[in-house]
Symmetry: C2
Subunit: 324 residues, 2 copies
């Protein structure tokens, strides 16, 4: 059995060993810039881990795992254009550094690259693998569209929000795990189960991200507190608060969110205060715990040895406890 | 044997029979708008034709052929953003109608859709088919990048230009034909030959497009004459004229192209005059004929029956003689 850390080293090595620079340089420089950066490489490590734990050969999973990571970075690159984001992981975004056209076209090329890496698999597995990847890619695009719709949609429900994060975030985490299972020739029932495990993990992961934006320790979290509030993001926290707020609190909350003239630290502090008054922090924790528990239940039904289950639980702790 | 016209009807029917609208509508409406329009459907018809002429079952080629057409339309959609084009086939472009973000994301989704359709093929053919499609998609992106580079690059050579149109235009025509051959289980030698035939045809096709921009009959051509000149496009015509021009003619030509203050009908008329003085029209015709002849030579070496060869030659005439 390989540990998460050793699989992470393996993926990092695979990326540093790959030359993404080709001609024309204007096309490939933004790609190399994006892929050389590193990061946690969470999704490709999940591919390798699932492959390993289902008894597969991780050597055969490295390229498809890289494909998933390249796809993830492609979505970030195009999302950053759509969100007018200036920074990503503390560096200029691609469209900020090279312009929108370069970001569109380099993104498109990364998407092809993702397919090239995903396709580097046993021919007999390719139809299943490609089917999973196509389905995932389509859903991630749909999730991003719902997220963009929310910016101007005033009647977003918690259900709408859950569907959006399922598509935009959870599905790719689930796909990573299922891909690893398929590459290990795991049976369909187990492949589906680890997919569902990934969905629950992904939902918990995104809700935790929402939670930490308001209630995290900015030093340990590495982000400014209240970024989602400042950006008028309709997160789980905000939608739950909107559902629960009455009277003056509701007026204040609504005013903060729909009057784009008001911004700044006071707004952030007062919104977080409202969240606390309405116990949105506790409710969010319960929601995260709900998905966490569902993930654990599914995990127990998978045919993993005790030490593998322990390794996965440790990884879940790390993914869901990033403020500690 | 199926005729070009009957294959075109078949593809048109396949598109009109497909519902591209799904949820979220904001994502799929621009896709349906783009794909419902029609057009000549040249590339998917080439897929079916090659499949048919190599003895394959065209029923099995319809979905992959649609994939190629969806891919082609995806590239047009993203190119229109990059070129700030307002009209495409006489209608508002997607980014003009729904905004840049919608155009980026609907384009990305069309790209996934293209892969979904291309993947609808016999599992044992999938690795080869996917490999061809990935290679083509990557090259088309590279071609678009070279084309964008030309806008600010002052030392573009004819060789640079030929490489660009090969990547941006010819490769997809070649891919369409080779895809049809692969789907018919044609042998590798023939599949490569029809690819090379497609490259020559594609080169001739693009050069003819350049030629007609300056020397076509605007009524039959359906475009305004001199669009490339007005848009400062470094076409074969301009690059050849720049190579041949001397003295005052060179100064005038250079001034027209590098001084963006000057535009209008007089500039177009005088540039076309310079082309005529330098015999750029004849030289371009010779260049087109060169690729046309090379295509015909390759065609003769393919194992097609006489009536198939005649049908392909007729199609080439139509593709290369659009001003008549």
């Amino acid at each position: 059995m390989h540990s998460f850390k050793s699989l992470q080293r393996r993926i990092n090595l695979a990326f540093t060993d790959t030359a993404f620079m080709h001609e024309p340089v204007q096309l490939y420089e933004p790609i190399a810039y994006t892929l050389d950066f590193g990061g946690k490489r969470l999704r490709p490590v999940l591919v390798l881990m699932a492959c390993d734990f289902f008894g597969g050969d991780i050597d055969k999973a490295v390229f498809p795992a890289m494909g998933v990571e390249i796809f993830h970075n492609f979505t970030l690159l195009h999302d950053d254009i759509m969100d007018h984001a200036l920074l990503r992981r503390g560096r200029d975004t691609v469209h900020q550094k090279w312009g929108t056209n370069a970001a569109i076209l380099s993104g498109d090329t990364m998407f092809v690259l993702a397919y090239e890496y995903v396709a580097k698999t046993d021919p007999e597995l390719l139809p299943m693998v490609l089917n999973l990847f196509n389905d995932t890619a389509r859903k991630v695009c749909e999730g991003q569209q719902y997220d963009m719709n929310f910016e101007t949609q005033h009647d977003v429900t918690i259900d709408d929000y859950m569907r959006m994060i399922r598509l935009k975030t959870a599905v790719l985490i689930a796909c990573s795990l299922k891909l690893g299972a398929l590459l290990a020739n795991a049976d369909q029932v187990h492949a589906e189960k680890i997919y569902e495990f990934g969905i629950e993990l992904g939902m918990a992961f995104q809700l935790q991200d929402d939670f930490l934006d308001a209630f995290g320790d900015s030093k340990k979290f590495g982000k400014t507190i209240g970024g989602d509030i400042a950006a008028y993001k309709k997160t789980f926290l905000f939608l739950k608060a909107l559902e629960l707020a009455r009277g003056d609190t509701l007026i204040k909350l609504t005013n903060y969110f729909f009057n784009k003239e008001i911004n700044g630290e006071q707004k952030i502090a007062e919104t977080i205060d409202i969240y606390k008054q309405l116990k949105v922090d506790e409710i969010t924790r319960i929601q995260i715990e709900h998905h966490h528990q569902k993930a654990l239940e599914i995990l127990q039904s998978l045919p993993f040895e005790a030490e593998m289950t322990t390794e996965i639980i440790g990884l879940m702790q790390e993914m869901l406890g990033r403020e500690r």
